[in-house]
Amino acid sequence: MSIKPEEDRDSAPWWEAVRRHELTVQRCEGCGTPRFPARAVCNRCRSLEYTWVPARGTGRVYSWIVNHQVFARPMAELVPFPVLLVRLDDGDDLLMYGNLVDGDAAELREGLPVEAVFADDDEGATVVQWRPRR
C-alpha cells in the first residue's frame, strides 16, 4: 500500500522503532500502565513522563474486515484484502491495525493468535503486519 504513515511528534519514536523492526509501546513512568497509540500523557495517573519499552510482538485478532472497494488507486491490485484489529498480549487496551500476511481471510476468527512482522517498502517506509501463529 503506497499510503505513507504520517507520524507526529509523539509517535516519531514508535515509527523509528518500527523501522528498526522493533515493536514498542509507551510505558507510563507514573503508574506503569502500557499505552498505545502514542500520547503525551497517561489517562489514568496523568503523568507526562514515559518511556518506550519493547512489546511482546504477539496478540489476538479482535475484529477484521475484508476490503473489496477500491477507495484509493493503490488498492486496485490488492483487493480483496483483510485489515485486522489486534489486541496485543501486553494489555487489553492496546490495539493495533495491520494487514494479514502468510494467512487466509477464511481462517480469521476472534481470538486468532497472531504475531507482528515488519514490511519494508522500496522507499524506506516500514509498517507492522500480522501473521497467524502456527
Partner: protein
C-alpha cells in the same frame, strides 16, 4: 437536570433537492436551504441574528454565508469542526445560545456536495491527516465503510448479530423512503436484494451504506415564545446532550466501555439526554437514528436503551422499527435511502413527524422524537436531541 428543557423550539425546516451532482456551490446550497427554512417558519433573513454549521473542510462557513445573505447583524455564530458525530450538537448549541439570550433566531445548516466534490473517505482526494490515521491508512484502511465494518464485525463476534439482521434495517428504511418524495432511492428492496448486493468491506455490503449526496438542509431555532407566534406548531428542544470522551478510532478508550467496540458513546450520553428531557426510551414515539451504515442504527437501539446490549439484531428482526412497529425508526428512509446530509435531515424529519405533517409516513400521534448523530466511533463523542411537539 432540566438544563434548557423546552425553552427553545425549531420553527422552520428547509431543504434543497438531493442529488448526485448539484452542479452548484455549497454556498448556493446553504442559501437555498436557509431561505426555504425561513420561509417555512414565516421569517426572513432580516429576522436572523445567528448562524451555525459544522464541516470538515467541505462546506461554506457562517462568516461567508451571513454576508452573502445580507444578515443585518450576526450576534453569535458557530463554525464547528466535525462530521456526523457533531451534527446534533450544532442545533443543541444554537438552542443554548437562544436560551442564554445571546441570540434570538439561529439558522442551523449543513451544505455539502458529498458526491460531486467531497467524498468521505477520500475517494478522489487524499485522506485527512488526522492523528491516529497514521496507524491505519498505511494498511488501506481509512474510509468510513471500512471502520463501521470493523465495528459491525466486533458486534457479530460478541453477540451473533447476522447479515440478515443488518439487511432488515436497509429493507425497512427503503420501505419508508418509498413514501418520501424527497428520497433519492424509492424502489422497494427485499432481503434477497440486500444479500445480493456487492461487498464494500465485509461484513458490509453496498446496501449497508448511506448515499453520498449533494444537498443542504437547514432548521430555524428560536425561543419557544417566538415560535408560538410563527407559522407552525413549535417543536421544542426538550433534551440535548453531546460529548462522551472515547474514540475507537485507534482504541484509545478511557471510559466505562474501555475498548469494547460494541458499546458507543451514545450509551454514555443517553442518561443525561433523557434526564434533561424528563423522558425515557419508553416515551419515544419515533427515532431518527444516525445511519451512515445499517450497523450504526443497530448499536444505537441498544445504547439509547430500546433493547438490551446485544439484542439489537433480534429487535430489528421483530419488526419493531418499521413504520407500524412499536418504535418507527428513520421514517424518511434515513441516509440509506433519503440522502445523507450528515444528520440535520434526521432533525428535519423529526420536526415533520412532530408537526404531524409527514404525510403517508406519519407516525400517528407522534409527540416525542429522538434524533441522533454518529454514535462516537470517530471523534470521541456524539450528540443527540429529544424533541417534543408543543401542541
Amino acid at each position: 437536570m432540566r438544563g434548557f428543557r423546552d425553552r427553545t423550539a425549531i420553527a422552520g425546516v428547509g431543504y434543497t433537492g438531493f442529488s448526485k451532482d448539484s452542479g452548484v456551490s455549497t454556498l448556493t446550497l446553504a442559501a437555498r436551504a436557509i431561505l426555504a427554512a425561513l420561509d417555512d417558519a414565516g421569517l426572513t433573513v432580516d429576522d436572523v441574528d445567528a448562524l451555525a454549521t459544522h464541516r470538515v473542510g467541505d462546506s461554506t462557513p457562517p462568516w461567508v454565508v451571513a454576508p452573502a445573505l445580507g444578515v443585518p447583524e450576526v450576534r453569535w455564530y458557530l463554525d464547528q469542526f466535525g462530521g456526523g458525530s457533531v451534527s446534533h450538537s450544532v442545533i443543541a448549541q444554537a438552542a443554548m445560545a437562544v436560551a442564554s439570550g445571546v441570540a434570538e433566531t439561529v439558522v442551523c445548516y449543513r451544505a455539502i456536495n458529498a458526491r460531486s466534490e467531497f467524498r468521505m473517505g477520500g475517494t478522489g482526494r487524499a485522506p485527512a491527516p488526522v492523528f491516529d490515521m497514521q496507524y491505519q491508512a498505511p494498511y488501506g484502511y481509512f474510509a468510513p465503510p471500512q471502520q463501521f465494518a470493523m465495528f459491525a464485525r466486533a458486534h457479530m463476534n460478541a453477540y451473533g448479530t447476522t447479515h440478515e439482521q443488518l439487511g432488515r434495517i436497509a429493507v425497512t428504511q427503503r420501505a419508508n423512503a418509498v413514501k418520501n418524495a424527497r428520497a433519492l432511492k424509492r424502489d422497494p428492496i427485499t432481503l434477497d436484494d440486500y444479500l445480493a448486493s456487492r461487498w464494500i468491506a465485509e461484513p458490509l455490503r453496498l446496501l449497508d451504506c448511506c448515499l453520498e449526496t449533494d444537498g443542504a438542509c437547514a432548521v430555524v431555532v428560536t425561543s419557544r415564545e417566538r415560535a408560538r407566534d410563527l407559522r407552525h406548531t413549535p417543536v421544542l428542544v426538550s433534551g440535548a446532550a453531546w460529548g462522551g470522551g472515547d474514540s475507537f478510532f485507534s482504541g484509545a478508550g478511557s471510559g466505562p466501555s474501555g475498548t469494547d467496540f460494541t458499546v458507543t458513546e451514545a450509551a454514555r450520553i443517553a442518561p443525561r439526554l433523557y434526564a434533561m428531557a424528563g423522558v425515557g426510551p419508553e416515551d419515544i414515539d419515533v427515532a431518527e437514528l444516525y445511519d451512515c451504515f445499517t450497523y450504526s442504527v443497530l448499536v444505537q437501539l441498544e445504547d439509547y436503551g430500546f433493547c438490551a446490549k446485544g439484542e439489537g439484531g433480534p429487535f430489528v428482526e421483530s419488526g419493531a422499527t418499521a413504520l407500524d412497529g412499536a418504535l418507527p425508526v428513520n421514517t424518511h428512509g434515513g441516509f440509506l435511502s433519503e440522502g445523507y446530509v450528515h444528520g440535520i435531515n434526521h432533525v428535519a424529519e423529526a420536526v415533520s413527524q412532530l408537526r404531524g405533517t409527514a404525510g403517508d409516513r406519519q407516525v400517528p400521534g407522534a409527540e416525542v422524537a429522538l434524533s441522533t448523530a454518529q454514535p462516537g466511533y470517530v471523534l470521541a463523542g456524539t450528540s443527540a436531541l429529544v424533541l417534543r411537539s408543543d401542541r
